[in-house]
Amino acid sequence: MHALKFDENVCAACPSADCLLKCQYMVFNKNEAHEEMMKVVKGQNSRVLQECVTCYACEEYCKRGNHPFYLISERREEKGIYTAPRPITNQWINMTQMQGKSMVGKIKDKALSSCLIPALGGLGSGEIFKDVASAMVFGAEFMCPAVHTHFAKMSVIKERLPIVIENFNQLGVKEVICLHDECYGTYTSIASAYGMNVPFQPIYYMDFLLDRLKELRNKIKPLNIKAAYQRPCSNRLIPDKHPLVKKILDFIGVELPDRKYQDENCLCCADILRSVSGYRLANDIQQRNIEDMLKTGAKYCVFNCPACQSTLSEKVAKKGLTPIHIIDLCKMAIGEKEREVQ
């Protein structure tokens, strides 16, 4: 069974305790942050295990790669602590169970993974994806199980991830283009944290997107719009990829004015957080986030994750922002998609 590779000494000697100090939901002074984290490290009771809302941010805040969030989830599971209510936790486990019903396209050396998210199928189409769209895979057999970190069910990840990796391996692929941050984060961050070998090269879809936009530069008509970006929780697992967003948006003529809740200070969509911590916090996060978007004068809210998009679309639209996925924005820029306007 795979165990989390983390080094107790790295935490013990950490000069910053940024993982907890920067937490947007729990308040600590520097000493407290360090103390509480050490309690977690040592498997003792800590309020962190009760109060952490599972936003993934500490994975980014820890610059020493010691996976504080995965550790918190491990400890929770060891102690039988549920984040979301037990029936919701089990529902997610059941919902994502492999049932032999996956769809596999024409695979050669590449696969385009839409995980278990139907919306990704539609996004991964058209001119931009024309050379890889036929190699799409979809289904629980190819689903990254990262979502179960929200529910402190690392055992589910440890059980299923090797099977998913092996399923890809059986296809004989050399590269898997991940249309979702969570997938890419799983095959890089989580797999590595648990010492799992990944025999294919995970490709982050935004890297692919930027390369394709460069190839299609002659088709691009700058969109000349202002947008706000909704950064998903799973992007915190792959923070080195975050700068790609601005690069892509610059390329297609989308201005991203600075706002308070961006980059490391971003707010998640709060959908799963609602199950974990209740509606009051979720509503508060969503309200602050959307008001912050509106202050920039943005006309569009750009999404990276279909789950965030599904959670927030109606809410941002009511406030006058046009919700759109970054892939669709690129399709608009190359003239493949009609300009969507509120």
Partner: protein, 459 residues
């Protein structure tokens, strides 16, 4: 041509009568598990006068007559058990009057749920009626005749409680107005403050008369409608959760359901909570009240609210088109359910019974309960799917449903829209004086025994 056929054609025109094998075959059955029985004629009247004349003829000639809407009760109530005439009411499908201020509508005996919904949306958007999840072609008259329920039942009771007046053709052929229409042009009361004669017809499954007009209460239609879905894996907590929710007195509908597949629903009990409002503030206030009402269960991690992004649109559909889906699970075009009315606190026993019956009879199950009148009772549906090509499976479903009804009676519940055998089981358990009263009413209203014979029959 037989004399009867000729007489029917004289009353209805030749497009209003059929004794072709095709119509006789189709109208001899419903989509449930009971065996069919051929009628001798099928008729489709367009006016009350035509209904009256057919009933008079049937009375004279002692021919059974079975009124039907769309036949989706599924318990064989439209099967002509003793042959005779099946009367398809669906050509009487007008909406006669809407009194917006008094909030009632008057429809004909074959007006469908869907047409009323669309009509109100187009012309009276501030009004709605209690729409069931049955397919929209089902009729309002049939629904109230068998004490059906709908989206507003949690607030206002059975759909039959929402009746505001009736026009009935009695088995003798007399046309009778029931309630305030018997005194004047207004349809605001089915009985009170007169002796409530509607009770002679509602729930009698077409055995005491044919509804040619129905008055129905309408209710405020709010601008917004939303839903939350609360999930628990502890069946014993369900009634307490429902008690807390109904205490709020601010919910539209509450359904409780469970099923083994798709996997995401496995092992959990789902409580769908609908609420409405005219402003976002009202909706958000109600949402907060709902969450707070069940916070204690969230705190103990025994229950929680599901994220609904992918399901919301489907849950908010009215009627929910996916309800019929269950029929195709065994790829066989059929399901039937027993839906006894019972106490909410009996939910765990009924839930256990469903699973036990499904295992015993090797059939696929789904179950859904609807809260009635703020929790005074619930309709608990025990639903089994079958493949129409597999008579053995159909028989197992029938036996499972019979056993479900027997269980409901043991638990002190009331079978809802029972088939003729379940009616007998019910009457056997009934208080003898109640049974005598039932028999007296039926014999006096239908002395020649022509109205949907075989049903509510006391030997």
């Amino acid at each position: 041509m037989s004399g009867i056929l000729k007489s029917l054609i004289e009353i209805l025109g030749d497009r209003g009568v059929s004794n072709s094998p095709e119509e006789l075959w189709f109208y001899s059955r419903d989509p449930g598990v009971l065996a069919p029985h051929l009628p001798d004629y099928v008729v489709a009247p367009e006016t009350t006068e035509q209904v009256q004349k057919v009933v008079q003829l049937a009375n004279r000639e002692r021919i059974p007559i079975v009124p039907m809407g769309n036949g989706m009760a599924l318990t064989g109530l439209v099967i002509p058990l003793k042959g005779g005439i099946v009367m398809d009411m669906k050509r009487m499908n007008k909406i006669l009057e809407v009194n917006e201020k008094a909030r009632y509508v008057v429809v004909e005996g074959g007006t469908s749920q869907g047409v009323l919904k669309a009509y109100l949306q187009d012309h009276y958007p501030r009004l709605r009626h209690s729409l069931p999840d049955a397919p929209p072609v089902t009729t309002i008259a049939a629904n109230v005749a068998l004490h059906g329920q709908g989206r507003l039942t949690q607030q206002y009771g059975f759909n039959s409680d929402m009746v505001t007046g009736l026009e009935v053709v009695l088995p003798t052929g007399d046309i009778c107005k029931i309630g305030s229409p018997s005194l004047g042009p207004y349809w605001f009361s089915k009985g009170p403050t007169l002796p409530d004669l509607s009770g002679l017809f509602l729930g009698w499954l077409g055995t005491t008369g044919i509804f040619t007009k129905v008055g129905l209460k309408l209710y405020p239609n709010k601008k917004f409608r939303d839903v939350e879905l609360f999930v628990t894996d502890r069946v014993e907590l369900v009634s307490e959760i429902l008690y807390k929710l109904t205490h709020l007195e601010m919910l539209e509908d509450i359904n409780v359901w469970f099923q083994p597949k798709p996997f995401m629903f496995k092992d959990n009990f789902h409580i769908t909570i609908y609420f409405t409002g005219d402003t976002e503030e009202e909706i958000e206030f109600k949402r907060k009240m709902i969450w707070d009402a069940v916070q204690e269960f969230i705190d103990t991690k025994d229950g929680g609210f599901m994220g609904l992004q992918f399901m919301k649109e489907r849950l908010l559909e009215m009627p929910q088109r996916g309800v019929a889906d269950f029929a195709d699970v065994p790829k066989g075009g059929g399901f039937e359910y027993s839906g006894p009315i019972t106490l909410v606190e009996h939910f765990p026993q009924y839930a256990a019974k469903v699973i036990e019956l499904a295992a015993k009879y090797n059939v696929l199950y789904a179950s859904s309960a609807r809260i009635i009148s703020g929790g005074h009772s619930m309709m608990f549906s025990i639903s089994f799917a079958f493949n129409r090509k597999d008579p053995a499976m159909m028989n197992r479903v029938k036996n499972a449903l019979d056993e479900a009804t027997g269980f409901a009676l043991e638990m002190g519940g009331i079978p809802w829209k029972p088939n003729f055998m379940e009616q007998k089981m019910t009457m056997q358990k009934m208080d003898p004086n109640t049974l005598k009263l039932l028999q007296m009413v039926k014999r006096n209203l239908d002395p020649r025994g022509i109205m949907n014979p075989g049903n509510w029959e006391v030997s």
